[in-house]
Symmetry: C2
Subunit: 240 residues, 2 copies
DNA sequence: AATAAACTGTTTATGTCATACGCGATTGAG
DNA sequence: CTCAATCGCGTATGACATAAACAGTTTATT
């Protein structure tokens, strides 16, 4: 109950924190930390050891304070994660890119993918929960929509295309998280054993495996899906 | 450390459980439950109250046993969730569908999407962790690959197309989880307030909002992305 | 039939987590 | 100078997964 209960006040606090709109207090001791510093520490921790390593206790240890001290700067863990996600700064400037919408949105996608690949925990930090967008995330959204401005698509369609592309990137990130080289081989072996026993029930799968369809991942995982999606978008544009 | 440590034995146990390959013991009292019954109970719980409601304690309560009793049937929570996911049975038969690959894979996608929409927790149950596929999941994979058999694409390409489509479905499910009608309006209002203060930094976004690009979701969320992707796949086929 | 082994469900304990509550210390506003 | 606001912290609390030890039950072996 309390978990899902969100008052409007809570939401305002959450947004204000993200947008740096909190007035600083006049009385009392000088704070030794700041929300940004806490978020930065948590981010380094996530980069180094993954999202699971980010507990309030651990972040506090890293900063040399007690766990409860963090709550003076951040309302709770959810808001801390919001801050971590938004702390990557704004999207790169794509306005100089020549050649129309396709090179521009491609460059956007590559930049976004680079971010997800460098910081895989962002996926877990933004999955399965209401996303509260701060200036950083909004700038990425803005950049993508700007890249699609001259397509002739409607605003709704442009938004849909954006969702499709970010979705593709997130899917790749997901597949990457699951991927662990030494583990991979072992699973493949065990699954092959199982299939040897039950393979008859999955003819298309057996054919695909025999044809190498489950071999090692591509050099450039983004390429295939992005091409397919953008070809489809081109068709959509042509139809209008 | 212990969390990520998986021996080969563990993996074999996990797969055997999923494939129902465990020999039943000869001595000792008759078990009052079974792995399948535990999984079924957990699944009902997840359907009714979401994945967060599925704790070992809660599932045990539901079955009228102590929490630890479950460990006689399931090695741990992760394996229980594997079972829950795989308990949906096999994919529908698509071989009767006329008109080539496109109607077939479309039917597959709609069936898959229906499953995700009816049981949104499946997304959370399969995200961010190594997927152990049982007979149920493999049958869905097999059906999708079979639908793409006559495209002339390579096995690798067919697998990639599959990943693209399942990814699209999962993205929609993700967006659906985040969506909560009463909540939605409130967030939109608060975000609009923020944008009124900082909107100048996001011109393309402001244009999109003014043009209705962030209005209510589509009647058929699957349609747009699926059409774009399959058009792209058609282009790919034509190029070969 | 007697015994031992295998298996049952349970109680109790451990460790991790987020976070509510209240304390004494600090400090700027009046 | 005084005091209320604010600081950082210690100490709960309750949820969670699961390890360990135990007592009762059933069957295979002797």
């Amino acid at each position: 109950m309390a978990k899902t209960r969100n008052t409007t006040k809570d939401k305002q606090v959450r947004l204000a924190l993200l947008w740096g709109e909190n007035e600083s207090p006049s009385r009392g001791p000088k704070p030794s930390l700041s929300a940004a510093r806490v978020a930065e520490t948590a981010r380094h921790l996530a980069d180094a050891e993954g999202l699971d390593a980010v507990s309030m206790q651990r972040v506090a240890d890293e900063l040399g304070v007690s766990a409860m001290a963090l709550y003076r700067y951040v309302p709770g863990k959810a808001e801390l994660i919001d801050l971590m996600v938004d702390s990557f700064g704004t999207a790169p400037d794509l306005t100089d890119i020549e050649g129309g919408w396709r090179p521009r949105i491609t460059a956007w996608a590559r930049a976004c993918w680079a971010l997800y690949r460098a910081h895989p925990w962002v996926l877990g930090a933004t999955a399965m929960r209401r996303q509260v967008m701060g200036p950083g995330q909004l700038s990425w959204l803005d950049a993508a929509l700007a890249a699609l401005a001259d397509t002739g698509l409607t605003p709704v369609q442009r938004h849909d295309v954006f969702l499709l592309i970010i979705g593709h990137i997130r899917n790749l990130a997901q597949q990457m998280v699951e991927h662990d080289a030494d583990d991979e081989a072992e699973w493949n072996q065990l699954t092959a054993d199982v299939l040897a026993r039950h393979g008859g029930r999955f003819p298309a799968l057996m054919t695909a495996i025999a044809g190498g369809g489950f071999g090692p991942a591509h050099d450039d995982p983004l390429e295939f899906g992005l091409t397919v999606i953008l070809d489809g978008v081109q068709d959509l544009i042509d139809r209008c």
